[in-house]
Amino acid sequence: MLDRRRNTSIKTSIFAHCVIAFLVVPTLMVIPISFNDNQYLKFPPTDLSLRWYEEFWSNPDWLRATWTSLLTACTVTVLATVLGTMAALGLSRMVGPGKKLLIGLIISPLIVPTVSLALALYFFFAKLHMVGTWVAVILGQTVLALPFTVLNVHGSLQSFPATLERAASTLGAGPVTTFFRITMPIIRPGIVAGALFAFLVSFDEFIIALFLAGPGMTTLPVQMWNTMQLYISPTIAAVSSMITGITILAFVLMTAFGRRSKAK
């Protein structure tokens, strides 16, 4: 009987590993493709070259798009982290159905189709004559980044006893001192994780940027989309490899942070 049970679990194990490979491997394929000399995405690459990376770094359109994306993502991160941390602190002191409703509202942009949100924002900013401005893109993307900052900070507050804050205030610390000396160090991992997510969300966000950005403010995903509409250039593989590399780095950093907060 034991044997049979182990048998099924070996089959399940193989199946599960294949599924995980399906999730991870195809994306990583862009890396070998990007070093390909041939412009037809041959695999395995016949000749290795860095020409697609050179093309990226020597093309002002790509560079400008990268710069725009970085700037946008940083601004969104700051906005979402400040608003989200405050909201999480507020939420953590609440109980009851109101809290559930608020969390529902904050999370819902993740499930509501982004096309609908982008279109709604277009109508809204059109009334304000702000379509095509950088501000509109940032304000819109922040809606998508907020769920991550709020819930990450909220999560790190769950294990945080309110008595600590009370103790600090009993001992004479004002609310601001209490926040920076007591609360902040404890929830820092949540804030960092939330900020990192906010950055990734904005850096990768495409639909809002496509609808709201003006011609001079093409973000990296929009530039990729525009290029892909024309032809499947291997330059995109080079861009993709660099983005994936940075993402993996962020991923590793996050895990390191997560570990450290767990160790504490």
Partner: protein, 276 residues
Amino acid sequence: MKQKTAWLIFPCLAYLLVMYVLPTAIMFMAPFEAGIAPGLTSFGQALQEPSYQRVMGTTFEISLVVTIGCILLGYPTAYYLSRMETQRARIYLMLVTFPLWTSLLVRTYAWIALLQDAGIINSFLMQSGLTEQPVKLLYNQVSVAIGMVQILLPYAIITMYAVMVGIRSRLVQTAQILGASPSRAFLHIFVPLSLPGLSAAALLVFIMGLGFFVTPALLGGRRETMIGTLIQQQVVLMGDWNSAAILSALLLVATIVLLGVYSRFAKLSNLVSVRG
């Protein structure tokens, strides 16, 4: 202390009301304001328009196929992960969520590179002599489904895992000690207990699938146009903002209704742990 800090929620709440709730309301009102066909008639007309009906049908069909695919691939995987030691499962779960971290356009591009006529899979098939001509893998429903399953599968796995991890192996073992065969014990004990996770995952994937835009636009052909793609086309190619608003409102209503059903048996906040 308790009430004192609750005000901190207000900036965020105000932000969402102005940047999310209000714009959505404006979008819903747009077809009424335009005055081409008064208000609700325009929604009725949209529902009867054959080309829209076809797109809605396609959207529904693709979402359904993707949902089935995610459950078939995700259920055994979630089961496997849920029977692991927590430490190892953590690492595996990180791999499962890896796609959610990588750029959507990058992943879509990777599929194009893999599936196209001169792509990796076809060159492998042709070099190994399995086929003479490249197999058409791209710009059809199969490629759209593959791309969407890869994006939505992590959500399905995490949702099911969250439920399965709470089911004790002891229960299944007890049934076996009492004489049930392993498969019978699994089917009669484990599967019923995991059903809430399965239905939550299915509904979630279906809802999220309805609103897809990038994947069908890049991996599909014209016949794989989904509502999301149509909305974008109405805006960018036709400049027809009113039709886009009507379609978007319909999509939003469908999403909200299904979300209401979903929230009856699953916690929405589970979603964020997917990425977190």
